[in-house]
Amino acid sequence: MGGFPILSVLLLVPMAGAIACLFSPANTARQIALAATLINFALSIMLWAQFDIGGPQWQFTERAEVFAGFSYALGIDGIALLLIVLSTFLMPICILASQSIEKRVGEYMAAFLFMETLMIGVFAAQDIFLFYIMFEAGLIPMYLIIGVWGGADRIYASYKFFLYTLLGSVLMLIAMLWMVNEAGTTDIPTLMAYDFPAGAQTWLWLAFFASFAVKMPMWPVHTWLPDAHVQAPTAGSVILAGVLLKMGGYGFIRFSLPMFPEASAQFAWLVYALSMIAVVATSLIALVQHDMKKLIAYSSVAHMAIVTVGLFAFNVQGLEGGMMVMLGHGLVSGALFLCVGVIYDRLHTREIERYGGLSINMPHYALFFMLFTMASVGLPGTSNFVGEFLALAGIYQVSTWVTLVCTTGIILGAAYMLYLYARVAFGVQKHPDAAAMPDLNVREYVMLAPLAAAVLWMGVYPESFLAPMRADIRALEARLARAAPEGDSHLTAGRPAAAAAAAAAHEGEH
């Protein structure tokens, strides 16, 4: 893979930036953070460009035995590549969105840069304990971001976030210790191919599920998410929705499914049931929210439920769809939180009632907001359509009933998002202060325009994103094939026979 340890550099740049920010005055810290995240974004684009599609499954591997008990092993496949690119893409935008932060800027930027290191570390780790360390360590900066720079109720939200996710994760550590003891290796690729006894898989799967379900979050352990989202500063919400939630889905793809195929099949009903409840219940809850951030937070839970049913469909469409929803949702929910942040910076309230008719005085803002609303609804041509369609097509092969229930999520999603948009952007300008808000400034353009471009790109030409992970999804499907549940839809291919017969007849004439 060449001599340049690009993954280590990706980890190191934000880390160095974080340390520099700690000791810098506010404006310098902002510049350092922006520079570090942009360098990282450039590096990850390089990573994407150099990624050899169709090459070996694990690329850019690095390994150093500097620790006892676990090794510093990095490497990515297509799935991890895309999630790393998503993280590094969102980070500079988050830094730009944080210009309104005035309090303790150096520490704030340091926390974000440290967070970036850990996010990349989670996706790049090839050692199960290195993964755990990165996965858990993310709690510390996020706890500080919510607690120090959050809203009025930030302390409750930060405690809830920290303890909820910690309790979810600790049992996973015991499961990991057991697995390593059983398999004799901490290497994730080796563990992915190791066949654990079916009886043990049940317990291991549940331990991992506790962690990833909380992180994802799945109903009914999602309650930390609305609190955390509402209280976190805008950029914190973007990272939380854009990347941290994806760690749960990544965990399912990387650990639960390939390592415990039998248990995954055994518990698929549980995942379906929770996902179906989540889609319907949280969509309905979102419909009655008065707080914009809370509404988007509940919509995240509903979208993540589509991800889980897609992943547990055990087929290529479902897995690809789950991944595409994750990527699309990372962009769209991040963008929606930014949109909320834009008007929050002006009016300092998230109450939907306090706005109205913004399309009159903020037409450009209304345009962007419209695009992201449509993307969240899953309009064809936007990123989420591709993912949701694939995920639902995947689950249809397994269970038509689950598909039926989950599809209502799209209708309900349209309901609450369009209702939100109508109340904020359309109608009369009820409040003079909201009517006096200026339109987007240059900085906000720079934040939203790349997101809009990416959302459209993913919707119009998803192949760019599907291609790097295709081989990995196929490998995963092959691994799962032995446990895949039999579907109830009994799909039969169309009737190519007639054409073939016609061709044969045609042949026969000569």
Binding site: V66, F67, A68, G69, R104, E107, F129, Y132, I133, M134, E136, A137, L139, I140, Y143, L144, G147, V148, R154, I155, S158, Y159, F162, L163, L166, L167, V170, L171, L173, I174, L177, W178, N181
Partner: protein
């Protein structure tokens, strides 16, 4: 085994006792004005003992060559590893103590001498392979500790702490002696090897009672639940440097001693003591975590935290395997760094008159008034909570790994789930320091010695600590192996 060879094995102890006696004379002649010089000399003696012990740890000294005085004393790598921690912690206490006592005008020349004798007692404890040696070491340490707890004679809290510690400590010593006498009565010998050999055929009811009482006495010394009641009161009342001492070195000594008694003397009766240890471990974790939640004094909070940590270390003991013993040592080493660091940080909290602050509410907004201190304390708190990437996580990791390898999965699962309760009050400290508005009570500068110690401890618990884990792990493995060679 000739006496010359025996004497060679106890050179570190001889250095400590001669230094202690000589410094006691100096203290008597020169009086309190020489107390700083005596502290320095005591530190030098501890340093000398440290470097005398170090080679045996690095070499993994084991076997009959390490046994002195006809099997009463064993200077193997396990004892050596514990001694290194004890000497380092004692030295750190000597560094931080003078500033604290001098402000109160209470610095006495006896303080460093008492710490030296306590360290000597602990050194004997961890090397004991005979119930007699065990008791001598334990009492030498305890008697010094009682005086140290009451060192601020004019302060009623300190006097109360000393008295409480003495009364309860004497009771625990009585329980321990009772257990020892029962064990002696049923085994017919006081040497660990002899006890092991005579119990091999099976445990009689009397010997079982002896075992239970011995463990109860030792549980008091390590402040494991249900023998933990004294800990918060003594920790709160004792002068802060002394509390730092109690929370670090004697814990190491008593836990190492407990490990040797359990794994060596009663090593064939694992099933008999494992359930006791498992109960004590889980009860300590839960009580330590729940008890800490309501505390408003940081020293009391750290007392409960030490009870909580002892619980995790006992999980390593419950494994009764070499990996478990090694995990105990690794955990102890990290625990000593975290504890000393936390108490140094507490000592650095002063109001504008230089008076020490102990209330948790005084920490409010510390991240803005004294950011470096706040960041170091935050690292220590997250480390104590066992959150990666801080090094405190590694201690819990090795302990739970040993438990999983020993097939104690349920114990590991309950223990780790209970650790989340503990995380609550550690992050509460972080919340007070970082989220709350400054209370405006913490002021002042701290001297460089405190900063150096705090920097060392903070660096050790920071992710940089993982670079040490190879060395730490191999030394601990070597040390733990010697414990099982005697089997």
């Amino acid at each position: 085994m000739d006496s010359v060879a025996s004497l060679q094995l106890v050179i570190p102890e001889i250095v400590l006792s001669l230094a202690g006696l000589a410094l006691l004379l100096v203290a008597a002649w020169a009086g309190d004005k020489a107390s700083r010089a005596i502290s320095v000399a005591a530190c030098v003696a501890l340093g000398a003992a440290f470097f005398l012990v170090a080679p045996s740890v690095c070499a993994g000294a084991a076997g009959p060559d390490t046994s002195a005085f006809f099997g009463q004393f064993r200077a193997d790598a396990f004892a050596g590893f514990a001694k290194l921690m004890i000497f380092a912690a004692s030295g750190a206490v000597l560094v931080i103590a003078p500033t604290y006592f001098e402000r109160l005008g209470a610095m006495r020349a006896e303080f460093p001498v008492l710490v030296l004798f306590a360290a000597l007692g602990m050194s004997v404890m961890v090397s004991a392979t005979d119930l007699m040696t065990l008791y001598i070491g334990l009492e030498l340490n305890s008697l010094s500790a009682y005086v140290l707890a009451a060192f601020l004679r004019s302060d009623s809290r300190s006097a109360e702490a000393g008295l409480k510690y003495f009364v309860l400590g004497a009771l625990a010593s009585g329980i321990l002696l009772f257990g020892m006498s029962l064990t002696y009565g049923f085994a017919g010998t006081t040497s660990f090897a002899g006890i092991r050999a005579s119990l091999d055929g099976g445990l009689s009811m009397g010997a079982l009672f002896g075992l239970v009482f011995v463990l109860a006495g030792l549980a008091f010394k390590i402040s494991a639940v249900p023998f933990h009641m004294w800990t918060p009161d003594v920790y709160e009342g004792a002068p802060t440097p002394v509390t730092a001492f109690f929370a670090s070195a004697p814990k190491v000594a008593a836990l190492a001693l407990t490990a040797r008694v359990s794994l060596d003397a009663f090593g064939t009766e694992v099933d008999a003591w494992r359930q006791i240890v498992i109960f004590a471990a889980l009860a300590s974790i839960v009580v330590g975590a729940l008890g800490a939640i309501g505390q408003s004094n940081i020293k009391r909070l750290l007392a409960y935290s030490s009870i909580n940590n002892v619980g995790f270390i006992l999980i390593g003991l419950a494994c009764a395997t070499q990996a478990g013993a090694s995990a105990m040592l690794v955990y102890l080493a990290i625990y000593v760094a975290m504890t000393i660091g936390s108490f140094v940080a507490v000592l650095m909290l002063k109001d504008e008159n230089g008076a020490p602050l102990e209330a948790i509410s005084d920490l409010a907004g510390l991240s803005r008034t004294r950011p470096a201190l706040a960041w170091a304390l935050m690292a220590l708190m997250f480390s104590l909570a066992g959150i990666p990437p801080l090094f405190g996580f590694w201690g819990k990791f090795v302990v739970f790994q040993a438990a999983v390898e020993a097939d104690l999965i349920v114990l590991a699962a309950i223990g780790i789930a209970a650790s989340v309760i503990g995380a609550f009050y550690y992050i509460k400290i972080v919340k007070v320091m970082f989220f709350d508005e400054p209370a405006g009570t913490a002021h002042g500068k701290s001297d460089w010695a405190h900063w150096v110690l705090l920097a060392i401890c903070a660096a050790a618990v920071s992710p940089l600590g993982y670079l040490l884990n190879q060395v730490l792990g191999s030394l601990a493995d070597g040390a733990a192996a010697t414990l099982f060679l005697t089997a």
